[in-house]
């Protein structure tokens, strides 16, 4: 099927959030998605709640928004609706990029046609894909803009990783990474980044070729960090861990929106090849060291500290953010960067205090529920 790009209103935005469904006994992942979704059918929520690959995950989709304020209001309403429904089922829900101690062997594939196909093809990788990410969509005026923006946003991917990182534990162990989730994604053969095409025409040629080989059926089969999303007329940033609060999720979306506005207006003409020579290394640095990552700037040929680079970018975006209504979220992100606060730190502190992973997840679920009451997140 040829790719048809549906143009959308530029800089409109929305998010998808994959969240954990937990039991309240030992806060391990529970098989509750189907019951939760069944109950949510009756709730009148803005946006959508959908199944994900295993039965311990659900995905929140916001509607298309123009401003941060409406997005946040909407996400809070959906979150509250889900929390209420989960309460009645004795389930809990939480943010975070990965469950710290669940066993992937205990996960069950959610029986939709697509997920069964994925499971059939990828074997155990499908169950190991029980990780939780935030996707941010930003609308673009043309398919060429989508290709441009996909490359232009790539140098900023480490910022999004460090800000959202919230999976320092995996299989009951400290991983020493701020986010361990991305390893589950990297295992897929079609993970990574878009090839260095620069126009939509080139992109469709590439896509047709891949489709011709039978490697992909649709854009969904590319698990890239950023990808054009022709069905929505957006680019989709898929790198973030689901943050521990809905508030941070909305702030990250506001950052993406402001950044996209700047990049579309002040177009960069740098060649993309040097970028992708260092991309994997920068990505690793951000996953491993969070704000303290040492990033390589391939054009300036120097190393920069992620936190300083992020703060400089946020500072640069501030004047533009005023008109967009994004000053508050950008200031909040700068605050986090200055204090070196992200979900991974929070989780590590909780673990240091409780010495019990179930307690950490219990508090994580509480934080998700009452994010606005906890300053700094």
């Amino acid at each position: 099927m040829p790719l048809d790009f549906r143009v959308s209103e530029p800089l409109t935005f929305g998010v998808e959030l994959e969240i954990m469904v937990l039991n309240t006994r030992d806060y391990d992942l529970a098989r509750g998605a189907a019951d939760l979704l069944e109950r949510l059918k009756k709730a009148d929520l803005p946006g959508e709640v959908k199944p994900e690959i295993t039965e311990s995950m659900i995905e929140i989709n916001s509607a298309v928004n123009r401003s941060y304020d409406t997005l946040l209001t909407q996400l809070r309403a959906v979150r509250d609706g889900i929390v209420r429904a989960a309460d009645r089922l004795n389930l809990a829900v939480a943010g975070g990029g990965a469950h710290p101690y669940h066993r992937w062997t205990e996960r069950r594939i959610f029986p939709t046609e697509r997920f069964l196909k994925v499971s059939n093809l990828y074997g155990y990788l499908a169950k190991q894909f029980t990780v939780f990410g935030q996707h941010i969509h930003v609308g673009v005026a043309s398919p060429d803009d989508a290709v441009y923006l996909t490359h232009a946003l790539a140098p900023y991917i480490p910022h999004f990783i460090a800000l959202s990182a919230s999976s320092p534990f995996a299989q009951g162990q400290e991983t020493s990474f701020d986010t361990s989730r991305l390893h589950a994604v990297s295992a897929f053969p079609l993970a990574g980044q878009m090839p260095p095409v620069t126009t939509w025409e080139q992109f469709t040629r590439y896509f047709d070729e891949m489709q011709g080989y039978g490697i992909v059926g649709s854009m969904k089969d590319f698990y890239w960090d950023i990808r054009p999303k022709p069905e929505y007329g957006t680019i989709e940033i898929r790198i973030c861990d689901t943050p521990l609060t809905i508030e941070l999720a909305a702030q990250l979306a506001a950052y993406a929106q402001t950044l996209a506005a700047e990049l579309l207006e002040r177009r960069r003409a740098d060649p993309v090849e040097p970028l992708y020579r260092v991309y994997g290394y920068n990505r690793f640095q951000a996953c491993r060291f969070g704000f303290e990552a040492a990033l390589v700037d391939p054009w300036e040929k120097r190393s920069v500290n992620l936190r300083e680079d992020l703060l400089a970018t946020l500072d640069r975006l501030l004047p533009r953010s005023v008109a967009m209504g994004n000053t508050m979220p950008l200031r909040a992100l700068a605050e986090l960067a200055r204090a070196r606060r992200n979900g991974a730190n929070w989780l590590r502190e909780e673990y240091a205090q409780t010495r019990s992973m179930p307690d950490v997840v219990r508090r994580q679920a509480l934080l998700w529920r009452e994010g606005e009451k906890v300053p700094g997140f």
Binding site: R88, S119, K127, I215, P358
Partner: protein, 415 residues
């Protein structure tokens, strides 16, 4: 030549030998059942039944008396585990759960009570028997849940309801013991004090053990291994304490579990998986239960036992289905839930046995009915639970993405 160092003949089987033999035989029976895709518990029970005729010849009848401590420990662990899954907070958030537990308990009570009255069983005895009928075998449910890796609303609700019906039955039998006392020996003090002692004594011991467990938990490393030892130690201790104080083990351990779940505001006690130990004890429990029920009881009380099972089963089914529309569960899930509440096993026998000890006439009159009902349910119960959890879609074989399916269906190009 003197051979005094040799054992004297005929050889007497020591209890550990018999016990070990029963454990291994049970395990083998379970694995045989497994090859026929039947629940393992069914195998344990059948091995028990097969052992029963030889029991006397082998001195097993003595073992069954001696093994009472193992039965108590196994049930103690099961009830504690069950009590830990009884979540008052959930019942507050979703009233339909408590309502369902009450409705299925009361309807099964009423149905059994009415059936026994028709058969001219004295009212007090019919009431006690109906109260026992409210309970579901927690061991059969927990074991099947574990064996089938069941997870979901029906599984969780079934466990809460079983804890609740066990609690209601314990309270009701304890109260009825009072009126039975009055009927048997008109001593007002005994009639009042005995049930009060049983009831509040059990609650007090349960609460005290829960408190003590939390205090210890607070001061030790918060690791699953350490907490596992703590919990097992405390459960065994609580069984001993209840026996020593002549309190009902069932209510005491259920109370211990419930208090340690619902009064643990600081989350000091970890939720440890008791299955590794539970498994051993379950096998012993089911083999011994099987071995201690004389099959002749089926002949003696067959018809009444079947009516007893049918009335109880209908009560539970109607009790659950009646609340289906408000529960938010689908009809299929409710049906599955009602099936998961059907099993009767050692808990039923133990309650009947204990009441029989207090009132011999109860034992003479209804002992065979319980035994026959347990024989039937030892066979039907595991199948019903497994079926119930399966139709609710919560067992592992329902996982459409299981590896075996993948291996069967995978092709190199399937994107």
């Amino acid at each position: 030549m003197q051979l005094g160092f040799l054992p004297s003949f005929p050889l007497t089987f020591s209890y550990p030998l018999l016990f070990g033999a029963l454990l291994v035989a049970g395990m083998v029976g379970g694995e045989v059942a497994r090859t026929f895709r039947l629940p393992r518990i069914l195998g344990y029970g059948i091995v028990g039944f097969l052992c029963a005729p030889f029991a006397q010849a082998l001195g097993l009848d003595l073992l069954i008396d001696e093994a009472r401590i193992f039965v108590n420990l196994a049930l103690g662990l099961v009830l504690f585990d069950l009590g830990r899954r009884f979540d008052l907070q959930w019942m507050k958030r979703d009233w339909t759960l408590a309502a369902m537990a009450v409705s299925e308990s009361l309807l099964s009570f009423a149905a059994v009570f009415a059936t026994l009255l028709t058969f001219k069983v004295p009212m007090v005895h019919a009431g006690l028997a109906a109260a026992i009928a409210m309970t579901t075998s927690p061991a059969m449910l927990l074991f099947t849940v574990h064996e089938t890796h069941a997870d979901g609303q029906v599984t969780e609700r079934a466990m809460s309801i079983v804890a609740m019906n066990g609690l209601l039955a314990s309270i009701l039998t304890t109260m009825m013991v009072a009126s039975s006392h009055l009927a048997d020996k008109p001593q007002v003090e005994v009639a009042l004090l005995h049930p009060l002692y049983l009831f509040f004594g059990s609650l007090a011991v349960g609460a005290a053990m829960a408190w003590l467990t939390r205090v210890v938990a607070r001061n030790i490393e918060k690791s699953k291994d350490v907490h596992f030892t703590l919990i097992v130690g405390m459960v065994v201790g609580a069984v001993g304490l209840a026996t020593m104080l002549r309190l009902p083990v069932i209510l005491t351990l259920l109370a211990f579990g419930i208090f340690s779940r619902n009064d643990d505001r600081g989350y000091e006690l970890l939720n440890v998986n008791l299955a590794p130990l539970g498994r051993l004890l379950y096998i012993v429990l089911f083999v011994i239960t099987g071995a201690s029920v004389p099959v002749e009881a089926l002949g003696a009380a067959g018809v009444l036992a079947l009516l007893f099972i049918a009335a109880r089963g209908c009560g539970k089914l109607v009790g659950v289905l009646a609340l289906a529309p408000v529960s938010g569960l689908r009809m299929r899930q409710c049906l599955g839930l009602a099936m998961a509440l059907q099993p009767m096993s050692a808990l039923t026998l133990l309650m009947a046995h204990d009441i029989g000890n207090i009132f011999p006439r109860f034992g003479q009159e209804l002992g065979d009915v319980f035994i026959a009902a347990v024989i039937v349910m030892e066979l039907a119960g595991p199948l019903l639970v497994q079926w119930g959890l399966r139709i609710a879609g919560e067992t592992v074989s329902d996982d459409a993405g299981s590896m075996t399916m993948q291996l069967r269906g995978a092709r190199p190009r399937d994107a």
